[in-house]
């Protein structure tokens, strides 16, 4: 049944995230085109005199603003994806749709597991799309002379190679810590929405946002205190180990918090649910 739940959750979330992703892709293509146009205009604007130079300067400032706007859209895209994941969770469980979801012949923990896995998949997809579109803009929109920025690509891989050569394990642990942080981010939002909807009779969304901030404050404080102590001990023993330890502690904390948040969420769904 988990597979079927997952299929329907993925499909439902795709209905929102796919159009947003297509819009962001179009935005990235336009941004790349605008950057190329900026190179052409900058050549004209560099002329010391002439009406064309004035016009191109004005036009170029608009192009720059357009590029900034598109980069901003690209950067907020994972957040938009995350919001749509949480909205799907809320709608599918705690609005009228919950009357169907909670009467399916499946275990409550399967419902939550499906929501969590599908949420994680879409969150990771949003990261991959962000990186791919960022790379697209850098490759095709940043060379004044050529359509493809080959020297830029070479420099990028040189830097990546150097980082992986010297700090490979650190980069790996940092990546794991980021991934675990994403797990926790979704689990914490699910917990906040569940508590908000169980506790509040009205203004459930507002209550959920409030609960989310409280959860985040408590967790951040706990993580900071424990990280500080562990990293201080690690630094005293071996200074270079502190960075590794910091990433590992952060990842471990995120995983523990994720499991705890999911367990509390499923408990509340099973025992405290009251669809109005």
């Amino acid at each position: 049944m988990l597979g079927k739940l997952l299929k329907h959750d993925m499909r439902a979330q795709m209905r929102v995230i796919l159009p947003v992703t297509i819009c962001v892709m179009i935005s990235a293509i336009l941004c790349t085109g605008a950057l190329r146009l900026a190179f052409v205009l900058s050549d004209i604007a560099a002329e010391p005199e002439g009406f064309a130079a004035v016009l191109s300067t004005i036009f170029m400032s608009w192009v720059v603003l357009f590029v900034i706007l598109n980069v901003f859209i690209l950067l907020v895209y994972p957040t938009i994806a995350l919001i749509s994941i949480v909205v799907h969770f809320y709608r599918n469980l705690y609005t009228d749709e919950g009357y169907l979801t909670f009467t399916l012949p499946v275990k409550t923990r399967s419902i939550l597991t499906s929501k969590f896995i599908s949420g994680m998949i879409w969150q990771l997809v949003s990261y991959v799309v962000l990186i791919a579109l960022g790379a697209f803009i850098l490759i095709f929109g940043t060379s004044p002379e050529h359509i493809v920025n080959l020297s830029g690509i070479r420099s990028f891989f040189d830097v990546v190679g150097m980082i992986l050569g010297e700090y490979g394990w650190l980069a790996f642990t940092y990546l794991i810590s980021l991934l675990a942080g994403s797990f926790y981010g979704i689990a914490a939002l699910y917990l906040a929405v569940t508590i908000g909807c169980v506790v509040a009779k009205k203004h459930r969304v507002l209550a959920s946002i409030g609960v989310y901030y409280v959860i985040n404050m408590i967790m951040s404080t706990m993580m900071s205190v424990v990280s500080f102590i562990i990293v201080a001990v690690a630094t005293a023993m071996n200074e270079s180990a502190a960075l590794y330890v910091s990433s590992i502690v952060s990842a471990a904390f995120s995983i523990v918090f994720t499991v705890a948040a999911l367990l509390i969420t499923v408990y509340m769904m099973k025992n405290k649910l009251n669809l109005s």
């Binding site: 439902a12 399916l104 649910l273």
Partner: protein, 240 residues
């Protein structure tokens, strides 16, 4: 199917000292109830008498404050949810779904869902399965939901106000759909306050007041004993 489902001796729905409170106020108070198989039963009472709460408890959407409720001898869980076909008083299908996707959804999750029956009923009503639910009228959405619910071969149908918000012609369709689709070993529990509309299809009824059952009887017994219809009896019992 499990052995306990097939056993005729186990009632379809049982409540033992069932109590449900929101805060300090009990909505259901020490309800004892046994519903046998093969009946259409009216769950009748004024607003706030606990009808919806009783149905939600049987559907597994609420947990009792005390006492117990059993579906085919088992406390509500994922197994009983497979035996119960529940129609809430609101639209629970996502408006972004197509009609065909709602059929896929029910076919995926309910082993007892009869897709052919559902498609047949939909075509008779002229519901296009390629359209999204948000384009359907409220009445059509309610009919679609009823078709989905009654296209299951469930043991217990829980219908919460199925005719509350629809026109008289649609009421007739809904009631004929209920009568013609439930199996002889199934029980249908219909909550409503439109008694005159459903009286003709009922075998039994329950009167609820202030969270308690004030009367449970077959329709024939009540008519014989009190010399009046269930509708008239309801007005008598609940006279303000």
């Amino acid at each position: 199917m499990n052995a306990y489902n097939e056993s005729a001796s186990i009632p379809i729905l049982t409540a033992n000292m069932l109590t449900k409170s929101y805060g300090s106020a009990p909505v259901l108070n020490c309800v004892n109830l046994t519903l046998p198989a093969g009946r259409i039963i009216g769950l009748l009472g004024p607003n706030g008498s606990g009808k919806t709460t009783l149905i939600k408890l049987a559907a597994g959407l609420l947990t009792p404050t005390s006492g117990e409720i059993l579906v085919c001898g088992r406390a509500p869980d994922e197994v009983t949810r497979g035996l119960v076909s529940y129609l809430p008083e609101r639209t629970y299908l996502s408006p972004s779904m197509r009609v065909s996707e709602t059929l896929d959804y029910f076919a995926d999750f309910y082993a007892d869902f009869d897709r052919v029956r559902a498609v047949d009923m939909m075509s008779r009503l002229g519901i296009d399965d390629s359209v999204r639910l948000r384009t359907l009228s409220k009445g059509t959405k309610e009919k679609l939901q009823l078709i989905l619910v009654m296209s299951r071969n469930a043991r217990l149908y829980l219908l919460d106000e199925p005719i509350g918000g629809v026109d008289p012609a649609a009421r007739e369709y809904i009631l004929s759909t209920i009568i013609s689709n439930y199996a002889s070993d199934s029980t249908v529990l219909i909550s409503t306050h439109l008694i005159s509309d459903i009286e003709a299809v009922l075998d039994e009824f329950l009167f609820l007041r202030n969270g308690g059952i004030v009367m449970q009887s077959t329709v024939d017994d009540a008519r014989e004993r009190y010399g009046m219809s269930v509708d008239a009896l309801f007005r008598e019992v609940y006279r303000c």
